[in-house]
């Protein structure tokens, strides 16, 4: 009686690189994720490796994240960010001495943690985070998959095959560039799937992808084993579906582990608590207060006013993480036992999460993961496996076409298409048509400047398509930034289009756009010529 578990971490941030600014508020999203999730994950891998604890994880690193993590500019900015944070932590160590022993304990913890993160980044990893993930892929511990180019929500592109192709092909190319081989799997942004998308994936050589549970439940044939075995589509791409139980246990707002009262409170940060003059050098240069990453309070009780939260204790929180890891391990064991006796065949449990849940949002999430992985060591009921290992061993598989779906609220497309953000789509569709028009018009023309202009048009289009902007506009945080981003990409695109139509490219302006929206250096816009549906 045994089964497999695919522990999947989806690492993604939209492209928020702003070389035109020395410091830019949204770039902190990346620094926070690096400091609290990506580097701690690598540190966890290294600990497990050193102690000979076997582990298998699957991760998607999205192309915008690949581009940002490999950028010298972002690496330098991250170091500077950490330098300032260490300076702040040093001040906090002094300051909290007279405040409370618990705060002082945490201040000292942060100081040594930040120093260690920076040291690992500089010395052990030589700033090359992607290289570190790649190394663990080559060792067989981590399987890396790609994602569609800018995390665009594909179901809303269905009517433009060339746009779907561009998202997939460019996502595959980015992976090849950074990881030196072809990706076997692809994570669809937001698990957004539409009927026929599997054909595009097959065309790009993708062997497997992931969908939400109901994509199997409402498929054209009913899946004999529910979501607990992968299926294959008629175009011969394997599909894995999310296990609803694992998701609920880990990230439900109401019953999930991260809501435990002992865990660190995300929203109470000294960036907001300390007096303005003191904190000013460590928040956004415009004076906008932001999270610094130094937090002294615990959740205490979810409904409690932020000002009434109690002081956090990391040892107490680590205990909670251990308890939760044991609970999760117990539940997975029971689930596997139950499923395998029911199915008479090894169940495969797919548990995908946003990577940034672990460490960034749920501060103790990495301890939890590590503890869970350690618990798996001395037993044989639940085994971690990668999707490739699973499909390579399959003998017989059910053929199913999954149902159109996503993992967003209510399971379909309304998070990315509703009264707040629907204004985006007429522009994006027009951009796709204009992109194709220009790619066709200048097909075979060898003019370096026109080539650069076409490349930049493709970049602006892809960046405007990031599902993140529509998502942020729906949820209501950082709305101004997201709206601005969409509008800027549309405006810049149309500007270049007008220039090309007039036959005069403004080189200086183009250089500026290339600098500020410089994703995918070697992008091939000719993909927009492939307008036909896959046969």
């Amino acid at each position: 009686m045994r089964g497999y578990m695919i522990l999947f971490l989806h690492a993604h941030l939209p492209y928020i690189k702003h070389p035109e600014y020395d410091e830019f508020l949204e770039e902190r999203w990346l620094f926070e994720a690096m400091m609290e999730t990506y580097i701690p994950l690598i540190m966890m891998f290294r600990r497990l490796e050193k102690e000979k604890v076997p582990f298998k994880l699957t991760m998607s690193i999205t192309p915008p994240l690949m581009e940002m993590l490999s950028s010298d500019d972002m690496q330098r900015k991250f170091e500077r960010h950490m330098g300032k944070l260490i300076e702040l932590a040093e001040k906090e160590v002094e300051r909290t001495k007279s405040e409370h022993p618990k705060k002082n304990k945490m201040a000292r913890y942060y100081l040594s943690n930040f120093r260690e993160i920076l040291r690992v980044f500089r010395e052990d990893l030589e700033r090359d985070l992607l290289g570190a993930f790649k190394e663990f892929q080559e060792k067989g511990n981590v399987e890396l998959v790609t994602c569609n180019a800018t995390h665009g929500f594909l179901p809303l592109m269905e009517i433009y095959p060339q746009a779907v192709r561009a998202q997939i092909e460019i996502g595959v190319k980015a992976y090849e560039k950074y990881f030196g081989r072809k990706p076997r799997g692809l994570w669809l942004a937001e698990c957004g799937y539409f009927l026929g998308l599997d054909r595009y994936l097959a065309e790009a050589g993708i062997e497997y992808f992931f969908v939400d549970s109901h994509a199997f439940w409402y498929a054209d044939d009913q899946p004999r084993y529910g979501v607990y075995r992968p299926v294959i589509t008629p175009s011969e791409v394997f599909v894995f579906a999310r296990d609803p139980e694992s998701s609920e246990q880990v990230w439900s707002a109401t019953v999930g582990y991260p809501g435990d009262h002992r865990y660190r409170e995300f929203y109470r940060d000294i960036g907001f608590d300390r007096e303005y003059d003191y904190i000013k050098p460590y928040i956004d240069p415009s004076g906008v207060r932001v999270n610094t990453g130094i937090k002294y309070h615990k959740i205490t009780s979810k409904d409690l006013d932020l000002s009434k939260k109690e002081l956090y204790d990391i040892d107490e929180a680590k205990m909670a993480a251990k308890e939760h890891a044991r609970d999760f391990f117990y539940k997975k064991t029971k689930q596997v036992e139950k499923l395998s006796s029911l199915m008479g065949i090894e169940p495969i449990i797919v548990a995908p999460f946003d990577a940034e849940l672990f460490g960034h949002w749920w501060y103790e999430g990495i301890f939890f993961l590590e503890e869970f992985i350690r618990l798996l060591k001395d037993q044989s009921t639940v085994k971690l496996a990668t999707p490739s290992e699973i499909i390579d061993k399959l003998d017989v598989v059910q053929i199913i076409t999954p149902a159109a779906s996503s993992w967003g609220a209510n399971g379909y497309y309304e998070v990315w298409l509703n009264g707040k953000n629907d204004w985006i789509y007429p522009h994006i569709h027009e951009m796709i048509e204009k992109m194709t028009e220009m790619a066709k018009k200048f097909e075979g023309v060898e003019d370096p400047l026109i080539d650069r202009a076409l490349k930049q048009m493709a970049r602006e289009l892809l960046l405007a398509q990031s599902s993140d902007w529509a998502f942020i506009i729906t949820t209501g945080t950082s709305v101004d930034y997201a709206m601005n981003r969409v509008k800027k990409h549309i405006t810049r695109f149309l500007d270049i289009y007008d220039q090309l139509s007039r036959g005069t490219v403004d080189e200086e302006k183009l250089s500026y756009y290339e600098w500020v929206d410089g994703i995918f250096d070697d992008i091939d816009y000719r993909v927009y010529l492939k307008v036909g549906e896959v046969s």
Binding site: S307, A403, I472, T475
Partner: protein, 252 residues
């Protein structure tokens, strides 16, 4: 109040009365029309004293608005691309989104319709058929004022069905004249398939087979939408709470 200090500092810089009043209004401070500058400042200060940690709106400070960091001007986006376009997108199993744009010629046709005509949007259920203009299973119609509207959300009866829209007008005699036709959009399904077959693929022998289904062994427990009085609809779903905080980078 997260930028209390900033606001207090700003109040000390002798701002204009108009700016003070505007800002007070943004904050939600109640003012009387006759108030002098001194009184407005006092009212703002009083208000700030009452503020708690919780009020963390970033839209209220006159000092450091996020948008002010932007240097490059964002132009108004085009209102039309002057092309005939009718696009239908699925939203969920029961809703479609349709938007349209028009060429100057089409606009002229609509502007010069004879009295008694009306512009209408038609939605056809074209599941498993090739639409020839009149063979749809069902046809739905809604009036449109194209001067003020360029999109609709359409409530349709069938999940897992193909729909197609037409924008056109009705003559005074009730005849429908289509001006634009959309793509076909399929609503996503929301219930298990009635299919009773199973297809299997033997990967070793590379052989496919079809057989009658022996039934589903692991039955799903499907999610259901719930609501309770006083609580709004949450946009969580897939990733529950973390969507908002993580995807937006944890910035409030």
């Amino acid at each position: 109040m997260k930028r209390k200090e900033e606001i207090l500092a700003w109040l000390d810089t002798n701002p204009r009365i108009q700016d003070l009043k505007k800002f007070a209004k943004q904050l939600g401070v109640r003012l009387r029309k006759s108030m002098k500058k001194r009184e407005v400042i006092r009212a703002i200060k009083e208000f700030l004293k009452k503020e708690t940690l919780e009020a963390r709106s970033s839209a209220t400070s006159p000092v450091a608005k996020v948008e002010e960091r932007e240097v490059e001007e964002v132009k108004e986006l085009p209102k039309t691309y002057n092309k005939d376009k009718l696009v239908l997108l699925p939203v969920n199993p029961n809703w479609l989104f349709v938007y349209w744009d028009m060429s100057p010629e089409t606009r002229r046709i609509i502007e010069s319709l004879e009295p008694g005509s009306s512009v209408v949007l038609r939605v056809h259920d074209v599941t498993y058929i090739i639409f020839d203009g009149k063979n749809s299973h069902r046809t739905f119609e809604a009036g449109v004022d194209v001067r003020y509207t360029s999109n609709y959300y359409i409530n349709v009866p069938m999940p897992n069905a193909d729909y197609l829209a037409e924008l056109g007008y009705k003559t005074p005699y009730g005849e429908f004249v289509p001006l634009m036709r959309s793509n076909v959009a399929r609503t996503p399904p929301n219930s298990p398939s009635p299919s009773n077959r199973e297809r299997w693929y033997d990967l070793r022998k590379r052989r496919k087979s079809v057989s009658p289904s022996k039934g589903v062994i692991v039955k799903p427990v499907e999610r259901v939408r719930v609501s309770s009085p006083g609580k709004g609809v949450e946009y969580s779903g897939g990733g529950a709470f973390l969507w908002e905080s993580v995807r937006s980078g944890g910035i409030l």
